[in-house]
């Protein structure tokens, strides 16, 4: 088991998803039990499903100097960076530490592949990319992180983590390692994934997409609803911001089982959970709330509900919020980290929207409707294809395990 880690301060955080732009909009939608899902009006060809689309992402115009980065994914990143005073906090950190001492560590599963899809839809007469699409930097997985580093003027380490649906959870771990080693003083973490035909038709081909709004942990659940989102957090040493909420721990582990199906006993998920609790110095009963991965896929929810049942007492509340946002894939980690932090800040346990007829495998921990109670410690689970599991532990300012 790893040593207990020194917590990090989360000095700014924000998310933009189908339920709104910024934290206040997210809190409002969660309190009002208002889903952001809508019938699919995005894909290049008809596909009967529901999606979590961010209104206006296509209308965002980047400054001329950043025009070479324009594409839906980077536009959504830009929109999200402008919420909750995030840019100003990064600028203050930059003035304090210097641009080379702040890392940009971002998760994404498909980056701006939507732009590559577009280039293929309108190849020029020679069969090559049209002139306006000849922008190599956006046709690569690193597009998002390179864009954000450029937009923020940061010159420290810059890394893309792309482990499917755990991507933007794992970047918290990258940041902790670099800060602990003294490579950096602060890190911008988070991630962005946007709707594109690759994921809509890809998950459809795997028969994992529901024709209705997704129903996490419902007995009749029949697949995911894909969403898009962007979110960011600024991490600094705890002594610089003792009044900020904390990253208490993180856990990472591999299933070693199957590329697109979770381990039947949730082995990797449980190893990631135990790793996170150990680094945080927590016992399971100290956890007040868990934001579950809860995709509404048959297997994920079954395995994850069983893990909650065997690892936590009923006082630990648990829910999936994918009925609100859809499954935002590589952005799910940061969106749900934001919701976990909102739960701590506002004492709101969001209800598990869509679970109207609970699967009997779900135990007493499940919060089917909103609950109001003090939350000191919250976890967020994120599991990805390839059996890639991550778990994050957050706590309110001043909490000591």
């Amino acid at each position: 088991m790893p040593d207990v880690m020194t917590p990090l301060a989360i000095t700014a955080y924000t998310a933009t998803s189908a339920i709104g732009q910024g934290r206040a909009a997210h809190l409002d939608a969660l309190r009002a039990t208002r889903s952001g899902l809508r019938p699919n009006d995005f894909s290049g060809a008809p596909l009967a499903c529901w999606i979590g689309r961010v209104d206006g992402a296509e209308d965002v115009v980047l400054p001329a100097a950043l025009g070479v980065w324009a594409c839906r994914n980077n536009q959504l990143a830009w929109l999200a960076l402008h919420q909750d005073g995030f840019l100003e906090r990064v600028q203050a950190a930059c003035a304090r530490y210097g641009a080379a001492r702040i890392a940009v560590l971002l998760g994404t599963s498909t980056a701006s592949i939507g732009a590559t899809e577009e280039a293929y839809r309108r190849l020029d007469v020679d069969g090559g990319f049209a002139d306006d699409m000849l922008r190599p930097a956006i046709h690569a997985p690193h597009s998002l992180a390179a864009f954000v580093a450029t937009a923020l003027g940061l010159e420290g380490p810059c890394l893309t983590v792309s482990t499917a649906c755990s991507s933007s959870a794992k970047v918290f771990a990258n940041a902790e390692r670099m800060i602990r080693l003294g490579l950096i003083d602060a890190a911008v973490v988070g991630g962005v994934d946007t709707l594109c035909d690759s994921v809509l038709f890809g998950f459809n081909a795997l028969e994992l997409v529901s024709p209705t709004p997704c129903r996490p942990f419902d007995a009749a659940r029949d697949g995911i609803s894909i969403g898009e989102a962007a979110g960011f957090a600024l991490l600094e040493r705890i002594e610089t911001a003792p009044d900020a909420p904390q990253l208490l721990g993180y856990g990472e582990a591999s299933d070693a089982h199957h590329m697109s199906t979770p381990h039947p006993d949730g082995l990797g998920a449980e190893l990631a959970l135990r790793d996170a609790l150990a680094r945080a110095g927590l016992d399971a009963p100290q956890v007040d709330y868990i934001n579950l991965h809860g995709t509404a896929s048959q297997k994920n929810d079954e395995v994850e509900a069983a893990l909650v049942g065997r690892a936590f007492p009923a006082r630990t509340r648990a829910s999936s919020t994918k009925g609100f946002t859809g499954h935002t894939l590589g952005a799910a980690g940061i969106v749900e980290a934001t919701i976990a932090l909102l739960a701590i800040e506002h004492g709101l346990i969001p209800g598990n929207l869509g679970g109207d007829t609970p699967d009997p495998v779900c135990g007493a921990s499940f919060a089917w409707r909103n609950e109001q109670q003090r939350v000191d410690v919250a976890l967020s689970n994120s599991f990805g294809f390839g059996g890639n599991n991550a778990c994050l532990a957050f706590a309110r300012a001043g909490f000591a395990a």
Partner: protein, 263 residues
Amino acid sequence: MSALRIYVEGVGLWSPQLADFAALQSLLGGTTPAPPPGRPAAATLPPNERRRAPESVLLAIEVAGQAVAMSGREAATLACVFASSHGDQPITDYMCATLALAPAELSPIRFHNSVHNAPVGYWTIATGCHAPSTAVAAQRASFGAGLLEAASQVLTDQRAVLLVCSDTAGSGPLGEVTDCHQPFGCALVLTSERSSATLARLDLQLTPAHPDSALDEPLAGWRAGNPSAASLPLLAMLTRARGRCQLAAAATLGLQIDMEKVA
């Protein structure tokens, strides 16, 4: 910041010209090695997986298997950092072409193989590895940024880490944009303490800029033709287990590597 000190216990390498690290040693020693067969063997994969796996997976698993074998370590104990600038370009080319013409015909297998962490996913499945695993990218700095992440894991958790950096050749219209002409993959087993298997000691330091270390031909040409071949200055240095080189760790950040032989 003091230097990050780590140790190398194993090296893997595969390109159309070089079957392994020994072939690079021969080449730099003045002998032209025999080129490997056209497809990486990837013997770590079970035969049925090997037949079906895309080239990106075969390439990564080939070099990973070489490095782990050289280290003598149990693969299942190693945390994994797999880096690639472009992921599986032939699959991206296939998916974008199919989506433009007949999206409902998209292959489910090719889609699940399209995730950036497909190679490390197959590796952990084949080796029964439950340790943390990740898949990263940083454009032409993918090797340097991956090395920095791997070194961070080695030192913060005091554990051995398998670093892989590989890219296949581009194909289709996308291939003209990525400008990636031939496959190249390499792997290192990195540790926090020296052992009887240690080949060299590395001291890593971040530097503001990164004048890429000079390389002689044919290595310079190979480096130009594949972003993962940015590792070649370090690999060449490993053949004599000493020296200093500079690699890109990000667009605006360099990584200076000082290497010493350990007796």
